[in-house]
Symmetry: C2
Subunit: 272 residues, 2 copies
Amino acid sequence: MKKLRRSARLVDMTQHLLAHPHTLIPLTLFSEEYGSAKSSISEDLSIIKEAFESQGIGVLKTVAGAAGGVKFIPQMNANDAKAFMQEMIGLLEKPERLLPGGYLYMSDILGHPQTLARIGKLFATAFADQDVEVVMTVETKGIPLAHATASYLNVPVVIVRRDNKVTEGSVVSINYVSGSSKRIQTMSLARRALAEQSRVLIIDDFMKAGGTVRGMIDLLQEFRATVVGCGVLVEAADVSERLVDEYISLARLKDVDVKEKQIRIELGSYFA
Amino acid sequence: MKKLRRSARLVDMTQHLLAHPHTLIPLTLFSEEYGSAKSSISEDLSIIKEAFESQGIGVLKTVAGAAGGVKFIPQMNANDAKAFMQEMIGLLEKPERLLPGGYLYMSDILGHPQTLARIGKLFATAFADQDVEVVMTVETKGIPLAHATASYLNVPVVIVRRDNKVTEGSVVSINYVSGSSKRIQTMSLARRALAEQSRVLIIDDFMKAGGTVRGMIDLLQEFRATVVGCGVLVEAADVSERLVDEYISLARLKDVDVKEKQIRIELGSYFA
């Protein structure tokens, strides 16, 4: 056992907490790791707590008692979230993003690790109190967002496939009507991918009428799961009938003028 | 400008460095942010450097001169890497993972954020010196691995689609022969997804004959890109002719006895 000085402890505890969000860490873990008294560890933690809060990293929750410890909850404060999404909207409104059918090209944004981390942290902030056990999405574009969110909640991701050629053993499939094509499509999830009665957060990149999200909710019923939340990056505003009631969006695609190549986007329901 | 004490600086600099790997950070950024002298920042950095190295987090490289600063390179040392992969192999050898065709069920592992982070850090360690500009993979199962790797290299991810129904503007498609089905299949990438002459790292979850990776390499030629590396989590050992020459694997599927439900896996070429 190597005995660490306070400065080295602060560095290592910071990285440990950041790597294990939403996880109760007993103080004994740190005191044994560093050969330090619990009282010293407590002082270290109050320094970290203050720095995390003043720098907008998140909060440290202390749980007292024999089974106690400390838990890091990543949090993006409202001002940072708004500033970040307004910056994103500036990027998203560029005319060259316009795709046929009123969709937006977002693959560059959904490929960028720093951007993904921020969106993931924002979703994790929004659903921090929902005791999320699993994040679910459907292939393909939602996957990076789901993983970014799950890494801040420290829960696994389950990916629904858009076909039933999945070689993953027994599979549950359902049909759904995609809002874009109005065609009946199939989505599938391996039986073993999700424990029954899991608490599931649905994450996706884009929602029009909500047919795909509705499909995921129906699929989850087959696993007797509870949908504890649904978050989409961008929702389309011009929808006559929405198939999903409860969700948050980070941005709302207000208006698309294909001829003039103009895109108008505003902050989504999360900021309302 | 708020002036921070050393302890608070250490916490915030640690999180900043962890969030911006492979990025040159000028010391002035920290000294202005914290209202501290550069000499104090230098002392802070040497404390962080020592802690990062002794705790196996990575290395801090100092670049001298006017355009200088500090760069955090995540590194998993050889012992930690081996111990982690041996633990993974223990999980992967469980008989219930066996799927038809000699494939392994790995979706649970590829969904777990802590596991993904370790695999990503391992790939980022292996390819740290290749000046990777983009990580590329093909949908679906490789995506989480590609993003985990890219977040440690701090570069974007580009996802090749398995169809050509992609609504992303002008698309480059090629045909390839999948090793598993021996059928001709199509893969596509939007023209705007990848700048010409990019330095690309290919990441995938599983490789048999290498038809899919070969397809990605061929596709990259259309973008005049340079393949600077290829990493797969698991490769199959019983392959008569491999279509890819240069790659590293973290694990090798040595032997599958479908009747006896036995799986034998060993460390991959990275550890040779």
